[in-house]
Structures are given as structure tokens and as C-alpha cells.
Subunit: 355 residues, 2 copies
């Protein structure tokens, strides 16, 4: 029993808290309910008494929830640097809107017994942002079946046209990367693509081709190598490219992780970046600034994309609360927003050696 309550038996009541704090019961109630019509000093005093007394709101009171909307971010895999950018942006977006952010990972559960989907249904979030990654097409359908508004955060470009999506300008990003290398004087430019089946990988490669064509240069197809977004995949591609009889002076990797694999292979061969080999990535995950040398990359604004996804979902939540019916999925096309990519120049790109 806490020595501060002055009661030998029984639970601490809201009246006990009010008496100890020297305020009225309604004031304590306001503090407990997060109302802002309480002076800050009073709020702090009451909060202190609540904390030290061990006061516990009655169950009935606790279940009378204030109507705070919650958005659930569903992501395949929470263990990538990519996920971090998304989470930070979604949290900021939710905080700006005064909404709660729930986070769940679908893990490898997709398409199997989908325990994550049943758990999601039971939590009844006001809206859902689904991060499309290696997700199959069925999952967006599953999430849409919950009845709550859904927005797909879709950097991979694998979008279900019937749901609203937020993506990035992958084609323009590919143009930007190659134009940067061309402007430094590179002509032998290799590309390591992402997973070739994904639209984002195709768009980045097409951007590279467009930039080469604009410069009047042919693309040497033996310098285009498939990848899989992983560091190991980047290293394997770098082995093949650097073994080329006429090797590239620069490599455009379709993700920062693959660029880190290129670094490993360069180091293994005693090649210095950027003196002997320029490397440019894609994404701008936080790791880039800590690489040796810091990585030049094309920034995909994952955080802003996540924030925008949350904003779109909450707009729909608010509209439905006002009685606006949900947009029928078979009618007008859903909005597809693309945020701009941009070049971030660090230290991994430089003019080529003259040979």
C-alpha cells in the first residue's frame, strides 16, 4: 500500500486524488481525459499526484475512449533501413493530424493463414496504410475487405489501380542518376537494376536509357545487370561488371543496399571509390551518410510519401465520419500520387580516370 494515500484499505479514488492535489474532482477528470482547458501548472500538479498515488481509473472510464482516429501502418518487414524512413514519416504525419499510429509487420505471413490480417481486423483501425513491397496482389484486396479506408504506399510501383497509391518518380530518378554521371565525364556507365519484375526497377532503368539517348550514347547491354535490392546481390553484380573486358568507370545501383555491395567488391579488388570507380545509389536511406565514402544517391522521399499516405487516409476517415459514402472501387479511378526524387551528391562520384 502506498504510504502517500492515507487510506489503510480499498482503492484510491478520483476524490482522493482531488483532495491530495487540492483541486476539484472535475479538474482531475479533465486531466485524466486529456482536455486542454486546465492550466498547465494545475495539470502538472494533478499528474504528479496521480503518478505518486497509484491511482487507477475505473475500467468503465478507461473504456470510454476519446474519439482519436488511429491509422495502422502494415509493412512486410520492419528490419530494413527503408522501413525506418517510412515509419518516421508516418509517425510525423499522424502526429500532425492528432492521430495515433499503429504499426504491424505482416512478416512472411502473406498468403498463408494471414494471422496478421485477422489481428488487424480485431484492432479496427480507422484507416490503413499498406506498404507494398514483396506483397502479392491479394493482400491489398484483403486489407480493402476490412471496410476502413486504405492507401497503398507503393514505392515498388506494383499498384492495384482501384486503390489510392503514393509512389515516387522512378523514371525521373533514373534520368537524374545517369545525367549526374554523364556530367562528370563518364561514358562507360553500368546499371544494376532492382528486382527486374518490379515496375520501379523497370522505370529506373528506362530513365537511364533515356538519359543516355539524350546524350547521343548507345547503351551497352553487357553493362546492364539484374539485381535484387540486396547488398549481396549488388556485390555479385559488381563481380560480373568489374570482370568485364572493358569495365565501367561508374555504376548506378538501383538501391543503396546494392551500392554497399559494390563498395565491398571494390574494396576486395583494391579499387578506390570514387578515384577508381564512381558509385551512385537509389533511396537515400540514413546509412548513406555513414558509408566510406558517403554515398551519392537519388533520394526517394520515403518519409514524405508515408506522411502523405497517412494524410490521405485520415482525409477519407474524416469524410466518412461526416457521412460521405466511400468511393465505389469500380467507379472513378483512384488517385495515384508520385512525389519527386532528387539527386543527393556526396563523395562516391568523381570524374573518371583517364586511361
Amino acid at each position: 500500500m502506498s504510504s502517500t494515500t492515507g487510506r489503510a484499505e480499498g482503492r484510491i479514488t478520483i476524490a482522493d486524488v482531488a483532495r491530495q492535489a487540492g483541486v476539484s474532482v472535475p479538474t482531475v477528470s479533465k486531466v485524466l481525459n486529456g482536455r486542454d482547458d486546465v492550466a498547465p501548472d494545475t495539470r502538472d500538479l494533478v499528474s504528479g499526484v496521480i503518478a505518486s498515488s497509484g491511482y487507477r481509473p475505473r475500467r468503465r472510464v478507461r473504456e470510454h475512449r476519446v474519439d482519436v482516429p488511429t491509422v495502422e501502418l502494415v509493412i512486410t518487414d520492419l528490419t530494413t533501413a527503408y522501413a525506418l524512413e517510412v515509419l518516421a514519416g508516418a509517425e510525423a504525419g499522424a502526429a500532425r493530424a492528432g492521430a495515433g499510429l499503429l504499426v504491424s509487420a505482416a512478416h512472411d505471413d502473406v498468403g498463408e493463414d494471414r494471422a496478421w490480417l485477422h489481428a488487424l481486423r480485431a484492432r479496427r483501425p480507422s484507416g490503413v496504410v499498406l506498404v507494398i513491397n514483396r506483397f502479392g496482389g491479394g493482400s491489398a484486396e484483403d486489407v480493402a475487405s476490412l471496410g476502413a479506408p486504405v492507401v497503398l504506399l507503393d514505392p515498388a510501383g506494383s499498384s492495384d489501380p482501384s486503390l489510392p497509391t503514393v509512389g515516387a518518380t522512378n523514371f525521373a530518378g533514373g534520368v537524374t542518376a545517369t545525367e549526374h554521371l554523364l556530367s562528370l565525364g563518364h561514358r562507360r556507365i553500368a546499371v544494376i537494376t532492382g528486382i527486374p519484375e518490379l515496375l520501379c526497377s523497370q522505370e529506373r532503368l528506362e530513365g537511364h536509357r533515356a538519359a543516355m539517348a539524350r546524350a547521343g550514347l548507345a547503351v551497352d547491354e553487357s553493362l546492364v545487370h539484374g539485381g535484387d535490392f540486396s547488398a549481396d546481390g549488388g556485390q555479385r553484380a559488381a563481380v560480373a561488371l568489374l570482370d568485364h573486358p572493358d569495365p565501367p568507370t561508374a555504376i548506378f545501383a538501383g538501391s543503396d543496399l546494392m551500392a554497399s555491395g559494390v563498395y565491398q567488391e571494390a574494396r576486395r579488388r583494391g579499387l578506390r571509390v570514387p578515384e577508381d570507380l564512381s558509385v551512385i545509389g537509389f533511396d537515400d536511406v540514413s546509412m548513406c551518410q555513414y558509408m566510406s565514402p558517403p554515398l551519392t544517391t537519388v533520394r526517394q522521399p520515403l518519409g514524405e510519401m508515408a506522411g502523405e499516405s497517412v494524410r490521405m487516409v485520415l482525409e477519407e476517415v474524416r469524410a466518412r465520419r461526416k457521412g460521405v459514402p466511400p468511393r465505389p472501387r469500380t467507379a472513378v479511378p483512384a488517385p495515384h500520387l508520385q512525389l519527386a526524387t532528387r539527386l543527393v551528391v556526396r563523395e562516391s562520384t568523381a570524374p573518371p580516370h583517364h586511361r
Copy 2:
């Protein structure tokens, strides 16, 4: 209006969904409520009809929440690799327990108007895991004032003794790092500490001292340099240490980020890691495996620590739901759990050059 409903006007009802799917109304209701006593095929069929019809549950139904506990993870800063490990572990812990995970960042809001605290209060999570970092002491008090169970995830060791905490064995980690370097033959071992005021920094340094003493070696105090956990701070410390007239052959950095700063400075001087300088970090954030060379480090099990924190909070949530009163904060000491650190050997450490 969706063309699939067959109704010209009015909202789609649960009966419409049942008719379209060819099942009973109670079956649709079970699917909507996430019950598991529906055959998977039926569930998929009904979910598909719900998705395509634009059916929206009535407000009253939506607000009758299934009693799923939610844990809110409150963290100062979501933009660090450190945060990612914590989040992934907390999500896994919540998913195992069938609980929802809310995530919020306190940003720089701490100690000011604390909008995050009022928002947290309004969301009424069942329990809170507060990640202690650069947080002031007042924040734990503030969070405790919510009345919900709180556990501090406290890698910094700045613990409030009256609340349950989960941390790591920092002293043992410091011993491990230095013993690894000693076993490779290093004798001139430098240390870059974390923020010197934090208990975790002091414990890691004391672990280093203990390992040196066990080996019968004196600590050269000119090789102990204060840091701040940042990459820039690590680089600044490396400048001072490598300018030493009798420079170290190995550097133990109190965080992986600081180790990345040591890499930058080594590269600037043309020193190869590990051939010319061994480097060991602390934390084992995911970036370590992508560094060139991959970083040897002391793993702090941040994910497991976060999962354990969530488990402890949910245990208290369940106990209170069964009517067990909260532990008075002034009575028995709260539990303080420390999870074990361990050495992860990669490629940044090697025997010293013979000079």
C-alpha cells in the same frame, strides 16, 4: 454507385453482402468481427464481396471495439538505426501477444508544452513502453501519471528506480570488446566513450578498464577520449587519437555510429581498416554488416530488449484486468532486467602491424 450491388440507392447492408456471397448474415458478421470459426474459403469469399461492394460497417458496430490491448512505444527520435531495432523488436513482441503496437515520437517536445503527452493521454493505450534516451527525468514521471502500466526501455542506464526497466549488460560488453582486441595482440587500445554523463557510457569504459587490469596492463588515459554517440563525434575523437605521438593500433568506439566516424578519418589518412587500424563498435545496428569493411561490434540486443519490455507491460495490463492492484511506486523496488551483450566478429579487427 458500385455496379456490383444491384441497388440504385441507399447504403449497402450486411444482408446485401450475405446475399451476394451466398452465406448467412451471421457468417458475414463473424468475418467482420475477425472470428476464426469461419472456414478459410468462406472468409475469403465474404472478404472479396465486402471489398468489391464498398460495404461500410455502421458506426455503432465499428465503435464496439473488440478488447485488444494496445501498447504505445514512445521514443524521442525515430530517425536512427537504433530506433529501427527497437521498433522491430517491439512489433514482434506485440504480435506474439496479440496486442496492437502504437508508435509515437516525442521529438524535441520533451519538457516544453508536451503535446505528445496530451495526445498519448487521449489515445489511452493499455500500457506504455518509454524508450529512455536523451529524455529528462521528468518524462518518466509524466508517462507514469497516465495511470497505465509503464516499462522503461533504458539502454542509456538513466533509470528511474521506481519504474520497471529493461537494459543491457554494458559493463560486460566493455570487457568483451577489449578482451577481443587483447586476444588479437593489441596493447595500445584507445576508447571513444559515449556521452560521458550517461551510465551506459561509464559502464562500457569501466568494462574496458577491468579487461586491461585483468591482463595486467595500465590504461593510458591519453587514449581515452569523450564522444557523443554521433559519427561526427567519432571522427573528431579519431583525429585526436590518430594524431597521438604513439597512436593506438585499435579503437573501441562506444557506438557503431562513432565507429563509422573513425572509418571516415582512417580513409582520409589513407589508413586501411583492419590492416593499419582495428575498429570495434557497440550496438550492432543493421548498418554494421554493410560497412566497408563490415564492422566487428558488441551486440546490444535492442530488439529483444524491446520485446521483453512489451511483454512486461502486457503482463501488468493482464494482471490489472484481473483486478490485481498496481504496485505502489514507493513500496518494493521495481524489476530491473539486463539482457546480455555479445561479441559479433566481422572484418574490422585483426592483429596489429608489427612496427
